[in-house]
Symmetry: C2
C-alpha cells in the first residue's frame, strides 16, 4: 500500500477574486489536519509557508502541546501534531517526503473547481496496489490552490461532490473527506 | 430521499475524563458544519446550547456575515450560515425539525467509541428510500456526547474507522465524513 503525505499550502493560493495571495496559518487547520492524518495513516503532514514568522507561529502552536500544560491535558493531540513538519516551500516538502519514503512522491492536486481529474475510486485503487509510488496530496488554504501549484502536480484529483452545486467546504472538511475516500474503512 | 438535519450539542457532552460538561461554542464549528451541511443538502443545522450568553455569541457570529462587511466579503458564507438555527436544548431542535419535515425525525447518535451501531452503508440505503422518516444526526463537541444523549437517540451510527486504532477526529472532520458517507457522490 502506497504511503500518503499531505501538504497544506499557504502560497500560492487564491483569494475569492482569484488573485494569488499568501494566506495566514490557522491554528485549527494544524490540529484538524494532523488528527485526520493520524486517523487515516498519513505518513507526514507538511505545513508550507514562505514567511519565517508564520512558520515560527506554527511551531509555537505545536510546542504548546509538546511541553507542559498542553501535553498533560491531552497526549493524543501530540500524537497527531508529531506528524507535522514545517517547510518554506513545496520543494522542501517533496524532498522531505522522498527522504522518508525512499522514492519521489507523485504530487496530487486537489481543487473544488476540478472538472476533470482522476476519480477517487481510481486513486484509491492505485494507492492500494503493491509498489505504487507514494502520494503527496496538495491542499490549498484561502479559496484554493493557484494554477502555478497545479502546474507542479503530476495529476489532479476530481472535485468532491455533495448533493448539489454548492461546494465550499473548509479545507479541514475537504481534507478529511479526501482521506476517508482514499483510506477509510 | 429522507431529509437530513444536524444538531451540534454542547451539553450533555463529556470531557477527556468522561465527566459530563457543557462546552463553549467554537465559531469555526458553526462555519465548517454549515458549509458541509450546505454542500451535502442538509435541511437545517441546529446549534444547541443551554446557556443564553453562548446562544447570543452564536448569533453574533452569524450576524457578522449577514450584514455589512461580512456579507460583502463572501456571500457564500451566508448561504451556508442561513442553515443554522440556535436552540437551548435537543427537544427544541427535534420540534423544529419536525415542523420543517412534517414528521418526527429519527434521532441518530454518533460517537467515535460506538462499537455496535448501524453501518454507514445501511444508513445511506435507508435514507435514500422513499418515504423514510427524516434523520436528525446528533454530534457532540468536547470529547463526545454523554450517555444521556445516547439515551435520547432512536439508533446509533457506527464509529468512523480510519487506517488504525487512532480515531480522534475533530467534530468538524467527523461531521463532514459522516455527511459524505451518507450523501456524497
Amino acid at each position: 500500500m502506497a504511503q500518503i503525505f499531505l501538504a497544506l499550502l499557504h502560497h500560492p493560493v487564491v483569494d475569492r477574486n482569484g488573485r494569488v495571495i499568501t494566506s495566514a496559518i490557522t491554528s485549527l487547520d494544524l490540529h484538524d489536519l494532523a488528527r485526520s492524518s493520524r486517523t487515516y495513516g498519513v505518513r507526514a503532514f507538511y505545513v508550507v509557508h514562505p514567511v519565517a514568522e508564520q512558520r515560527e507561529f506554527a511551531r509555537s502552536v505545536i510546542d504548546h502541546w509538546r511541553v507542559g500544560y498542553g501535553r498533560a491535558f491531552d497526549s493524543r493531540r501530540l500524537e497527531a501534531l508529531d506528524l507535522i513538519e514545517i517547510t518554506a516551500d513545496l520543494d522542501a516538502a517533496v524532498t522531505a517526503a522522498e527522504r522518508v519514503a525512499g522514492r519521489r512522491p507523485t504530487i496530487i492536486h486537489t481543487s473544488a473547481r476540478e472538472a476533470q481529474g482522476v476519480s477517487f475510486a481510481a486513486m484509491r485503487e492505485r494507492l492500494s496496489e503493491h509498489d505504487t509510488a507514494p502520494a503527496l496530496i496538495l491542499l490549498g488554504t484561502g479559496f484554493g490552490l493557484a494554477s502555478s501549484a497545479r502546474a507542479r502536480a503530476d495529476l489532479a484529483l476530481e472535485a468532491i461532490r455533495g448533493a448539489g452545486d454548492y461546494n465550499h467546504l473548509s479545507v479541514r472538511a475537504a481534507a478529511s473527506i479526501i482521506l476517508d475516500r482514499l483510506r477509510g474503512l
